[in-house]
Subunit: 253 residues, 2 copies
DNA sequence: TGTACATCAGTGAACGCGCGTTCACTGATGTAC
DNA sequence: TGTACATCAGTGAACGCGCGTTCACTGATGTAC
């Protein structure tokens, strides 16, 4: 929602700038296409240039090196998955933490299944010889902040039902939890923060196992399993009263 | 525990065969070393040969192709992680499911941290252009069977404390669970099987996030967090009475 | 509105490199009698 | 124990390929006056 003035100031002014923005996009699109059919290590500047009808050296007007192009793709992937999570959560502010948790979880999984190589680029094995620069940190945390926000808001509204049972937390872990709470889930007690971290790793653990082939021959009802796991983690976080979960068809993908 | 006759029949008889076995091992060792410093895609037959003082074509006496060598490394990695799990569980048969679960979980994580690139080879993004042949299936399931065995034996001994609360399971998921129970955890009810699948993905989800860099700047007390998560999943499986878990120092890595 | 200059995009050739795999070969090791 | 032949390991040259990156260049687009 920019003002007209801001829009014209950030939008490309000259024809040259417009063409440049367009071609930058086309290069990334073609690179993504190559990513989809062969993974990060088979992404080649020459092949991208060839496919776009350019000479390979021309790409250096747009990206300083192959690693720069890779970084742009990584940032885009983080941004895309973050946006998918934000979109799924938009307009659901406040009340029903359980429904929000399920909606965001399913949105993350859906994006991952639709973009398996981009998912692998950011959540798979690190690309050998590639060091992620700092500019990836912000986009990387978007999706995590959506999940944390759900817990934080449920807590702020007093909707978090704390689980019974005293689970002691080791000192160092407790400090981490307090730090994380301050950053992303203000006021949320350490026990819940730790449980949120478990839910976070649970979610991505399932999605990664699915996409990386470890469920083949093991599980077939992948949708059901994921939904079940999301309901379980929602309950373990206190986003939902444990007795209230019976049907797995509450949220349909 | 072979008989002497079997041993002599399977052991290399001639000098040639002994040298061949030795060199095969050396090739894989060197390949592993290259894996450790650059990932699967930077594994090169020529570089391996160079390092061993051979000519590159000589490797084709030992492995029919680069993919064949990669397959051997994958099988070895699965076998190594499976053996690590089995070793940690050896001699603990029967009684204390919680302790076994923790010991095996920590052993898996320890192996992964000591062999990050081998872990990434099997649990990270699939190697582009490489299709895992059937011979990897057996070794791949070793580690999983150890975990399943702990749950199965706890159940068989009547030590499994079923969690309260009725969690309905979708039909298709229930069928998967029954099939898995038959294969790996006979007699274990579907609810527990599903919870075991969640514990399984939770475990590898944490290890992968750790090794692939997603905990950097988030969590520092990685040991504590993993131990906490393992205790939590053990309790959720009923391997341990929920009230019995207080200290996280029960199992030391 | 028109000119002079600066900026930029894209070209094409080249550098230097490493890769997987094949093939005809030499010489050593193993086997059968 | 000794000889004749078969098997195998390793060599070295070659094929054909693709890659990232640099560089001097041409011609088009934009800017300042």
């Amino acid at each position: 929602m920019d003002t007209a003035g801001d829009a014209t100031r950030t939008a490309p002014r000259t024809a040259r700038a417009r063409v440049r923005a367009e071609l930058t996009r086309e290069i990334k699109d073609e690179a993504r296409r190559q990513l989809a059919s062969g993974g990060a290590s088979s992404l080649s500047l020459r092949a991208v240039a060839r496919e776009l009808g350019m000479v390979s050296s021309a790409l250096y007007r747009y990206f300083a090196s192959r690693d720069d192009l890779l970084t742009a793709l990584i940032v885009d992937a983080y941004d895309a998955i973050g946006a998918a999570a934000e979109d799924a959560d938009r307009g659901r502010g406040g009340a029903d933490g359980g429904a929000r948790w399920l909606a965001v979880g399913h949105a993350i999984r859906r994006w991952a299944r639709e973009h398996p190589q981009e998912y692998a680029l950011v959540y798979g094995s690190p690309v050998p010889g590639y060091r992620a620069p700092e500019e990836t940190i912000g986009p990387a945390s978007r999706v995590t902040l959506v999940l944390a926000g759900i817990v934080a808001e449920a807590h702020a509204c007093g909707h978090l039902e704390l689980q019974p049972g005293s689970w002691q937390i080791a000192t160092a872990l407790g400090e981490d939890a307090r730090r994380i709470a301050e950053l992303a889930m203000p006021g949320v007690p350490p026990q819940v923060v730790v449980r949120a971290l478990m839910a976070w790793t649970q979610l991505f653990g399932i999605v990664s196992f699915e996409l990386f082939g470890h469920m083949v021959g093991v599980l077939e009802a992948l949708d059901d399993f994921f939904d079940h796991a999301m309901q379980w983690t929602a309950a373990s976080l206190g986003l939902v009263p444990p007795a209230g979960l019976h049907s797995s068809s509450a949220v349909v993908t």
